[in-house]
Symmetry: C2
Subunit: 339 residues, 2 copies
DNA sequence: CATTGATGCACAATCGGTTGCGCATTCGAT
DNA sequence: ATCGAATGCGCAACCGATTGTGCATCAATG
């Protein structure tokens, strides 16, 4: 427990008034301070180990120096990368990151505003929950601070960073086609989530020339149980696809588990490719072939946009094309066995 | 974007001064306010949707109303539960939770103090990184706010919540013994982490009567690669145990993967029981038998202790005996096959 | 009826840092 | 030598809430 040193102490040590000390330390552009005085103040500050009090600064500047990251589920595979990227960008801009998990239980419109309090954070990065419909999302965003949506967008409300979902799906499908698959199914995310919709749409377009198999496309959710259920339904069909693209990694883990439970061998009987990558993909049996998405970069982009906006820039709707989604071929995909 | 309503506005609407409004809304015990006035103020506050500005309150009270949760790795299985518990306890006490990940890259002593800033949080809950030795930990804790350690303790520095590690290990070992196993190995955590040490010690005591097999105990770390490596070493031995207790879930996933890679069948050739439970344990092949630890409760306890301390209570060193660790028998443990 | 005490409220200082403005001094130009 | 401008610094207001203290008003008491 160290004693707190205030600006007053620094000023006293340098033999100046508090106001000059403040200007010297904040690099005020309008400041007219002699080089000598400035040096004395800086020296005094470092000697005393001065750190400005965030509370006072926040009050005066009406900036709390913190943003909130609100996610539906911290266990989701994408959370780690997203958080790293945001943390990284924020650290450089001297901003703290508050974490909020918005449980399924309290999805009321005020839940978010309670979470961020009044003046607690300057902005919010929100990962849309899979069971938020557009109206709920709009209602939840009725908060007095700007928001950037991650992998979701809302018409008429700028401020979003979405991944290149069509490219990811295309890469997965092309990989399977190169292996020789013609019958490809799709396990999608929640029906009314726009990221899930984009992936589904991309998949549908890619399948345009193929014989139609609507039952090979199953909507579910992003977590493992949903993936398990969707895969179970597909495995119950009379005529099965030989390969499946799964729209999220946790769901792919669930899907893989369903295969194991049903005695379906992966990749011999069925190939699986998942969108998103995380450590767990290298530790399943078989290891999961995935399309790595630039989550860290997406987090950085979202945080940067939010912080820039706080400094006056406009919010935008960004599609993150670079770095490109990348195929990580592992053991869950192989050429189909013709019988 | 809603307009901000200040206490001044509430006071004006109720026809009183700001000070009375403040006392009325904070339930000041010394306050002498007529019931009528108080009602008018409360009414005005709700009508205007008044929410006190956290920045101003923080400055005046020297309390920021936030605590930091600092973890080495958000992908670790225990993080989700821990965070939920802390969040839960903090929400009731109107406290926000800042998340900090202390990367392996910046393990300097100032990293933590930079993270929490000056006056940004009132306290810290710290999950010790597996590569922190006692001295580094002590140095990192040289911050001007109180700290509660999770699943770690430091002599001479009260403030910790640790799980009932010996009980967990005993439950795992007893389960394996009931199945008929006599040769039991152990994959421990990082050597100098005290939680790992407690689990290892408990294991050693339980093995006191058995023939000694020091090479059946492998120290590593808490993440999957460490578990993989440790298991590989054990599988390379001439004489193998028939069952393994793994000290953490992520490491168990890694260990299971090593078995699959080596063609060792689980549980036929080798049983695995892991300490800690999370969703992934139900989705591996085979599903992992685990000992569920009360992570949510531990988080609640740690947060409550910290918040109580901020209100004047003493910090304690708590061992969380209730709820007890619970065996969740799944597919990775079975009776040994005698050949 | 005068005095004491309790009651209900407002004034103003305060937390620590930021910033508009004013004052004094020095400098350059005529 | 004189005047205007530029420079260097301090004073004081302010951000929004909390809180010690003081001033009225009214009831209770002898």
């Amino acid at each position: 427990m160290v004693e707190m040193v205030r600006l007053k102490d620094v000023a006293a040590r340098a033999g100046v008034s508090v106001s000059v000390a403040s200007r010297a330390l904040t690099d005020d552009a309008h400041a007219r301070i002699s080089a000598d005085t400035r040096a004395r103040i800086v020296a005094a500050a470092t000697e005393l180990g001065y750190q400005p009090d965030h509370r006072a600064r926040a009050l005066r500047l009406s900036r709390s120096g913190a943003i909130a990251l609100v996610v539906p589920e911290v266990n989701n595979a994408i959370f780690g990368g997203l958080h790293s990227g945001i943390q990284e960008a924020c650290q450089q801009r001297h901003t703290a990151v508050l974490l909020g998990q918005l449980n399924a239980s309290d999805r009321s419109a005020q839940a978010l505003s309670r979470l961020i309090g009044n003046g607690r954070v300057d902005g919010v990065i929100l990962q849309r929950a899979e069971d938020y419909d557009d109206a709920s999302l709009q209602a939840a965003l009725d908060i007095p601070v700007p928001t950037v949506l991650f992998n979701s967008r809302l018409s008429g409300r700028p401020g979003s960073v979405v991944l290149d979902d069509p490219a990811a799906v295309r890469i997965a499908v092309e990989h399977l086609r190169e292996l020789g698959h013609t019958g490809i199914g799709f396990i999608a995310g929640a029906a009314h989530h726009d990221a899930a919709a984009r992936r589904l749409e991309a998949f549908t377009e890619l399948m345009a020339g193929e014989p139609s198999h609507p039952e090979w496309t199953q909507s579910g959710g992003w977590e493992a149980p949903a993936g398990h259920l969707a895969m179970s339904r597909i495995l119950g069909l009379d005529e099965r696809p030989t390969a499946i693209v799964v729209a999220s990694l946790n769901a792919a883990v669930g899907a893989l588990h369903a295969c194991a439970a049903a005695g379906v061998r992966v990749p011999d009987d069925l190939s699986i490719v998942s969108i998103h990558d995380a450590w767990i993909a290298s530790y399943t049996a078989p290891e999961l072939t995935t399309v790595r998405m630039p989550m860290v970069e997406a987090g950085e982009r979202a945080a940067t946009m939010l912080l820039d906006h706080l400094d006056g820039a406009e919010l935008e709707d960004v599609v993150l094309h670079e770095p490109k989604p990348e195929l990580l071929a592992r053991g869950s995909s192989a050429a189909p066995t013709h019988r």
